[in-house]
Symmetry: C2
Subunit: 304 residues, 2 copies
């Protein structure tokens, strides 16, 4: 039996200025993307907060995909909102506005049924909240977290406490360099693993993702080169959600299952980028996913 | 019998400002790096020009590695000189000075014994000179070229004539984007292949290299993550030289041999970066190379 993945993170409205179009009120947030991606492989248990303006339909749709949404608190006020503008090449983005709203007072509470979760994904929220979640979880098999520059700069101590408890840190390359205080990726990975995480996955956008494993080995999963990139929002969260879902479905975390999970993460993330918000991700079929996985494997196939 | 690789390119003195040290009068140039890298697999035939200040020892050392140096013209005057300063992270560099010297009047002449060359590497020189070389070659099996922003901007027509004659273009990602006028790598690769080259290899520095093959397939060779990067000068030329040497040694150019050659190129380039100038490249042993190749293969090994 596949265990569900406990996912803590944000649920949000995003206002997106994309090269192709502008879209307002796009449902997003790290927990949303991760849960949809995870649902391709395993059920999820969501912990998040939304305001009274958040569409009930979206929660129903997540539940239809196998997400337990009883851990999503509906608070009085407005849902977290992020507005951003992407560069023409989609390689960088600028935050235009952040309104924390109900997210400002978020106190994650695990429903009783969540406390035995084996697979725990701590999305990019305040490290103090990530710690609160871990205190409420009984004995997870795999604790994975994401973080960002904001916490690396401002909440170093709390973040250090989180790092000490992690089996796996998933982080992008710029944040890895910032956290380690060194540019060289291999040395930075070594430094950060010394802070706690047994394993480290470095997300490198269009350049793929690298796993720095506990046996010091390095695995490289390429990104799928897309002809039409539309919106990278949520690609990293989709990557992490798919990774967790695949690991939960495998029921075992080792170098072998991790390598496969990374490829699935890369494949799912590539679909995410092909549509605005969760559009393409939500429309993804199992056949399409398996086809892309074959293509990714071919991309690194060497032969004898 | 392995055919030699005809290599046309620059031979130079480089003044390097590196994060680790400053070094003047470092023997470099695209032909030098490519020839040393090629020598790990195959002999080379060099076409280049040096001034009367160029050390005879260097030519003897190249010859000792199996390079035919009779095509190197020794002209009156000074050797081509490049001075550059690398950023602390080695990810970018700034040209401080370029003195073409004898390179300004370079007219590549193929000695009689070079004209039947099967494997031709046109290093990054003026496209008109690349064309001159091709006119002197009888019927090469594989014509490969490199180019740079300078020619893409200023010599578009001549460069177009070169592209039309290429089996394989080796180019870095920024230059690919510039040549295609589009940021998306896959679309840019398609556009550039429409200009002539049957195949395209995109060098992406620390992110590895991608092969866009004639059957539309994509192969990805990772870069080896180094703990100590010293000097990236010549890494791209070493990559190309090793690639050509390996293909010549295989005696056949197909998707299979190309994939292997790319990995060898990546491995050899990684050694190049570990020393100043050609230091680490020249000291590389066959055992070290094979070890690194095993590590590169492990980096993309997925299993069943």
């Amino acid at each position: 039996m596949t265990h569900p993945v406990l996912i803590v993170g944000s649920m949000a409205f995003d206002d997106l200025e994309l090269p192709s179009e502008n879209r307002k009120d796009v449902v997003g947030g790290s927990a949303t993307y991760a849960s949809i991606a995870c649902s391709l492989f395993a059920k999820s248990q969501l912990v998040a907060v939304v305001g009274d303006d958040f569409p009930a339909d979206t929660l129903t749709q997540l539940a239809d995909r196998g997400a337990d949404v009883t851990g999503i608190e509906r608070a009085k006020g407005k849902t977290f909102r992020w507005a951003g503008r992407y560069a023409a090449d989609l390689a960088s983005r600028e935050t235009l506005d952040t309104q924390l709203n109900v997210f400002a007072d978020f106190q994650p509470k695990l429903p009783e049924g969540y406390r035995d979760a084996r697979y725990v994904m701590l999305g990019n929220i305040h490290p103090a909240l990530q710690l609160d979640v871990l205190k409420q979880a009984n004995s997870p098999t795999l604790v994975v977290a994401d973080t960002m520059n904001f916490w690396i700069e401002g909440e170093r101590d709390k973040l250090g406490e989180v790092l000490a408890k992690l089996d796996l840190l998933v982080i992008n390359d710029e944040e890895l360099r910032q956290l380690a205080g060194t540019y060289n990726i291999k040395r930075a990975a070594r430094k950060v693993r010394d802070l706690g995480p047994k394993r480290l996955i470095v997300k490198r956008g269009e350049h793929g993702a690298m796993l720095f494993d506990q046996d010091e080995s390095v695995f490289y999963a390429p990104a799928f080169p897309l002809l039409n990139e539309v919106d990278p929002t949520g690609a990293g969260d989709s990557f992490a959600g798919a990774l967790m879902g695949k690991l939960a479905a495998e029921g075992e975390v080792n170098s072998h299952t991790l390598r496969h999970a990374l490829l699935y993460g890369a494949a799912v993330a590539s679909f995410c980028v092909e549509g605005v918000g969760t559009d393409a991700l939500a429309a993804l079929t199992e056949n399409q996913l398996e086809e892309r996985l074959v293509e990714l494997k071919r991309m690194v196939y060497i032969g004898d």
